[in-house]
Amino acid sequence: MGRLNAFQIYKLLPKTNCKECGESTCMAFATKLLNQERKLDECPILLESKYQANYEQLKELLAPAEGALETGITLDEDLCTGCGNCVVACPPNARVCDACKGGSGPDPSNDKIIFRVLDSKAKIVNLKICRRYEPPITNCRICEMYCPTRAIEILR
């Protein structure tokens, strides 16, 4: 499955544009759902028994997004091969760690870095220096771009 988009969510919503959730259209609500700004339960029509199947399907679709961290990044450890591409490619990581800049692994005591590889799986240590964390936010997708196995995905 590719990256989740708002249209996939919209297709499962009631599509009535009733405005009961406070959004002007269902599509707007779908976009906010994807960005985790709204909750699924905030759509009253979806809670009716008629839409139960859709509700459950949506819940399943949005489950990985719920696991996403503040910057919208998800890391699937089952897919990770520990190649360390994210550790080396990530620009903030290279800024705070000279070893990462040159391709080696970071010092085990360095807890400023975003990524490190532990037991052959990438781990997220500190997201605060991520370019997507604090304003001015940039739409940096370098870790996702260089992950060969698609273990890292950025959901928005």
């Binding site: 080696s104 692994g105 052959s120």
Partner: protein
């Protein structure tokens, strides 16, 4: 934090990453830092359920435990009885063990061959003959601006190659990392490498030679007449040739996907000759399994001045291409000693069937299909974890393996076992 062992060398593949940090607690491995999935296996196998912890001997068709001394004695008896013993493997063991193995083969007038000879060995021999340098991996990191991946997928075979040496790291003259480099991949299918490549040449199987010929022609200044060569449009080939022409320092990584037939090898050598004549610096790096595959070729050269394999029955010793398979086909082997390899998993089935006729003595640290069919199995330590030694990286750089843990009781290293065989016989 427990006891930190830094600069440990990983023996997962022939990159021999030397920046591994292992955290020990109560004499056991707690966590490993920076190891990839392939290398992690080495640390995980210590307490693996298929780990071999006692020598085995096949008695009445079943493998039964025997003592270490008995196993050594039985092996020596079999070696003395055999008319044509053969020593095989050597790609995944230390350089010291390889040297003992060569001495042992000489003593018993045996044949000796390396498991990766049909791939890496032949390439290295031919590159050496033409004086084509294998660049140091650090040099690639600092200077390389063109990376050609031909028939290989390092994201699966040499997992840290892209992050540690080739594509992503920022070196002395490549301080923008991947932005200072161009990667091109040639393969018969889409692999994970396509994500990193500027040009992806998906060729038809067996068309490597045609594509390389076309590149040689363009670099020589001739023009192509055909519109599509090896399933690639002419325009793309011109584009790639131009990228090659403009490179300051290129590296051609080629894996097992580039078939090592004599025709293919000749074309490859001609490609290097052509680019060198035009003043383009392009180095060759063969990517292959077996963390110390090049070590065997170096040691054999030092010892008997042969590069691939040696037949000590003739004097002076001679070398034969595909030595093991040719000898097996001619029924020339009556005892096979396997060290640091798993031929039953790696060789084709029609060759494996020939193993059924001969007794096998296998020295390994875990159960493999080869140990399952062996007459005698001698367990050993995991090099780089439980025993020290030297191994040669794929660019011939010697790397010292560290011992970080005590091996299980009664388990000796490959070197110690081969030394015992050498001294007691």
């Amino acid at each position: 934090m427990g006891d930190l062992q830094s600069n440990v060398v990983c023996t997962g593949c022939s990159l021999l990453c030397d920046d591994i940090v292992v955290e020990l607690e109560n004499g056991k491995i707690k966590t490993t830092h920076h190891v990839c999935a392939r290398g992690y296996g080495r640390y995980y196998q210590i307490a693996f359920k298929y780990r071999l912890l006692s020598p085995l001997k096949r008695i009445n068709g079943k493998q039964q435990e025997i003592s270490y001394e008995d196993a050594i004695q039985e092996t020596i008896d079999l070696l003395k009885k055999a008319k044509n013993p053969f020593f095989y493997g050597w790609a995944s063991t230390t350089s010291e063990a390889q040297q003992k193995g060569i001495q042992l083969a000489q003593k018993f007038k045996a044949g000796i061959d390396c498991a990766t000879n049909s791939t890496t060995g032949i390439v290295l021999q031919q590159l050496n003959a033409k004086n084509i340098q294998i660049p140091q991996l650090e040099d690639i990191k600092d200077n390389a601006d063109l990376l050609l991946f031909w028939g290989c997928n390092p994201t699966a075979s040499h997992i840290r190659l892209l992050s540690k040496f080739a594509l992503l790291p920022r070196g002395a003259n490549t301080d923008r990392g991947i932005e200072d480099r161009v990667a091109i991949s040639v393969d018969i299918r889409k692999t994970d490498m396509t994500k990193f490549s500027e040009e992806i040449l998906q060729i038809e199987p067996g068309e490597d030679k045609a594509l390389l010929e076309a590149l040689i022609q363009i670099i020589q200044g001739k023009s192509l007449t055909e519109d599509i060569i090896a399933n690639i449009p002419r325009k793309t080939i011109y584009n790639v040739a131009n990228i090659i022409k403009e490179a300051n320092f290129g590296v051609l990584f080629f894996g097992n996907g580039y078939a090592k037939t004599q025709e293919n090898m000749d074309t490859l050598l001609r490609f290097f000759e052509t680019v060198n004549q035009k003043g383009i610096k392009i180095g060759a790096v063969p990517l292959d399994g077996g963390y110390n595959a090049v070590g065997f070729n170096l040691n054999l050269k030092k010892h008997v001045n042969l590069e691939l394999n040696a037949d000590f029955q003739s004097s002076p010793p001679t070398q034969t291409p595909n030595f093991l398979i040719e000898s097996l086909k001619q029924d020339k082997i009556d005892l096979l000693v396997v060290v640091g390899a798993d031929p039953i998993s790696n060789l084709p089935f029609h060759v494996c069937k020939l193993f059924a006729k001969i007794p096998i003595i296998c020295i390994d640290y875990q159960q493999t299909p080869t140990t399952k069919v062996s007459h005698i199995v001698i367990p050993t330590t995991i090099p780089g974890v439980e025993s020290a030694g030297t191994a040669y990286r794929l660019d011939y750089k010697p790397i010292t393996l560290k011992k970080i843990l005590e091996p299980p009781e009664g388990i000796y290293s490959d070197e110690e076992i081969l030394n015992a065989l050498l001294e007691q016989s």
